[in-house]
Amino acid sequence: MSAVLDARGIGMSFRNGDELTEVLKGVDLTLMPGELAALLGASGSGKSTLLSIVGLLLRPTTGTISIGGQRVEILSESERAEFRNRRLGFIFQFHHLLPDFTATENVAFPAAAPAGGISPSMRSRARDLLARVGLADRMDFPATRLSGGQKQRVAIARALMNSPELVLADEPTGSLDRVAAEQVLDLMREVNREDKATFLVCTHDEKVAARCMRRITLQDGRVEGASVSDGPPG
């Protein structure tokens, strides 16, 4: 089985005046289909930078990245945007739902904007996803009337709208209380298990990492221990 993500020799450095800061120093990382991996590391270890590079929001200084067998670091900006839209899903610490839209409209948004509107099939899929994340009774609620945990669940449904090959989550429970955080983690595990969706979860929280099937720890811009997957999850 081929890897969903295959990143090799990822380096990232920033120039601040005369000073060159090397954030990532040749990171190798592979994820197999259906994996739920935690990307751990202390603040400043480079984990958010790596997630942004894998999510095509940043270009690495060095290295190659393949997602679903396609080299992506060589894509133009508009091609990267299209790739993100069709093949990647994002869950951020802050959901940033569109407050003037309903839960269904928020979920359908990534598909609707490029298509020029919400088609009946998009609406149907968005509603299925909302039912899947336990919000069947909140589908037509405006985003502003949802609780923090419910909003993050809408954000998870939104990330799954275009059936992405890889879902990238950056501190997905960071802004939630303990109960809501547990619910969101359960949901991610459930989607991962049942839909075989591949997740890379960036976190500094050991409890979150403990719920994942694999741990990848970054320290000082390098991966500690094994970073290459041994194979598909059991």
Binding site: F90, F94, F109, P110, A113, P114, G117
Partner: protein, 401 residues
């Protein structure tokens, strides 16, 4: 169009702010409409005042100028002397009038003898500009008969009409005789048949009307006329028709615009001032839209960042903001045009104590199509800056904030 749905939702998400923004646009458009209707109205009133009381095109003989004759001997110069003995005149005026009658653009023709004279009453002497016309066409150029304040508008033999100021200065009234002395040294006793008041001091103090038959011996012009005054169906074509008549008759022709150059330059200056005010009112509208949309783009940085992260194109995000500008412009311009028309229509009903309009405003001349189109175009242009800045937002930076 999904971008339109997003733009509409964004605008409706804060109704009070959107209402204020639209009100600002509408106010600017109302000011534009008011200024345009007022300036147009003023121009129409001034032009109408002039064209209603004067000829639109005047025909007169060519000016005679003394000229140097060519001489084979360079030391000797010969000059053709201009005779001042005989008054310049249009001898073939009947054929010129016949030509004018064939022109559909001409509405009235008045062959005239114009000259200078003095009115003498005892020791008092007053200079007058004499207009001698066919009594049947007394009102052809200027409606004098409606301005008569005493006596009658009749120009029988030896009759004269004078202005009210002139009558006051000389202590004259209708029915009285007055000694008329022309610039040709001919004296004759005329009877004042009527006194008119036009409201224009230059006319009421200096102009006198005679019949052309009375004037012929007085100005020693047994056959010709000194000028032919013409009224046109459309006074605005006066320049063009004057040029045509110059070619056709060989006479010197003058349009009413040439005679009133100061009026024309005044109207131009007024129009330029109006354009400046209109431009500033539009600019203030555009600055309002640009700043409001910039604030909106800034407030929605997180949402825009997420959209960009999800691969929503820059074009889509820019379109959302341009459409907001377009919607604000359309609604604001529409309301502004309606309120501008309502304001101008109300102002047009206001009158002075004498019954005349308080403001020379023409509600129909508010430049509605121009301001509607300009406001919408301007609103779209004003939204381009916030639209570009929203589209260029770095998704990572926006999300992390």
């Amino acid at each position: 169009m999904f971008a339109l749905t997003v733009a509409r939702r964004y605008l409706l998400s804060n109704p009070a702010q959107t209402a204020l923004l639209v009100a600002g646009v509408a106010l600017g458009v109302t000011a534009f409409v008011f200024i345009t209707a007022l300036i147009q109205g003023l121009a129409v009133r001034l032009t109408d005042d002039v064209t209603a009381n004067s000829a639109h095109v005047s025909l007169a003989p060519l000016t005679r100028v003394a000229r140097v004759l060519p001489s084979p001997d360079a030391d000797v110069e010969a000059v053709a002397i201009v005779s001042t003995f005989q008054r310049r005149q249009i001898r073939a005026w009947a054929s010129t009038v016949a030509l004018l009658r064939t022109q559909t653009s001409v509405s009235a023709i008045s062959p005239q003898i114009s000259g200078s004279a003095f009115l003498v009453k005892g020791e008092a002497v007053a200079p007058v500009a004499v207009t001698a016309i066919d009594p049947a066409g007394l009102d052809a150029i200027s409606p004098i008969s409606t301005k008569i304040v005493s006596g009658a508008a009749s120009l029988g033999a030896d009759g004269i009409l004078i202005g009210v100021r002139l009558a006051e200065n000389l202590g004259l009234s209708s029915g009285q005789p007055v000694l008329f002395r022309t610039d040709r040294g001919v004296d004759r006793l005329l009877t004042i048949r009527g006194v008119f008041e036009t409201g224009l001091q230059s006319l009421d103090e200096r102009v006198a009307y005679l019949s052309i038959q009375t004037a012929r011996p007085l100005f020693r012009l047994p056959e010709g006329v000194t000028n032919i005054e013409v009224k046109l169906v459309d006074p605005h074509r006066a320049r063009e028709i004057a040029a045509f008549l110059r070619e056709a008759t060989g006479l010197r022709t003058t349009s009413w615009q040439e005679k009133n150059a100061s009026l024309e330059s005044g109207l131009e200056a007024q129009a330029q001032t109006g354009t400046l005010i209109q431009t500033f009112s539009l600019i203030s509208v555009l600055i309002g839209i640009a700043s409001a949309l910039s604030l909106s783009a800034n407030r929605r940085r997180g949402e825009i960042g997420i959209m960009r992260a999800f691969g929503i194109s820059k074009g889509f995000i820019a379109t959302v903001f341009v459409l907001q500008g377009l919607l604000i412009g359309m609604v604001g311009a529409g309301i502004g045009c309606l309120s501008g028309f309502a304001l101008c229509s109300w102002l047009a009903t206001l009158t002075k104590p004498d019954g005349s309009m308080a403001l020379p405003i023409v509600p129909a001349e508010g430049g509605y199509v121009a301001v509607f189109v300009l406001t919408i175009l301007g609103a779209v242009l004003a939204s381009v800056i916030p639209a570009r800045s929203a589209a260029r937002l770095d998704p990572l930076e926006a999300i992390q904030q």
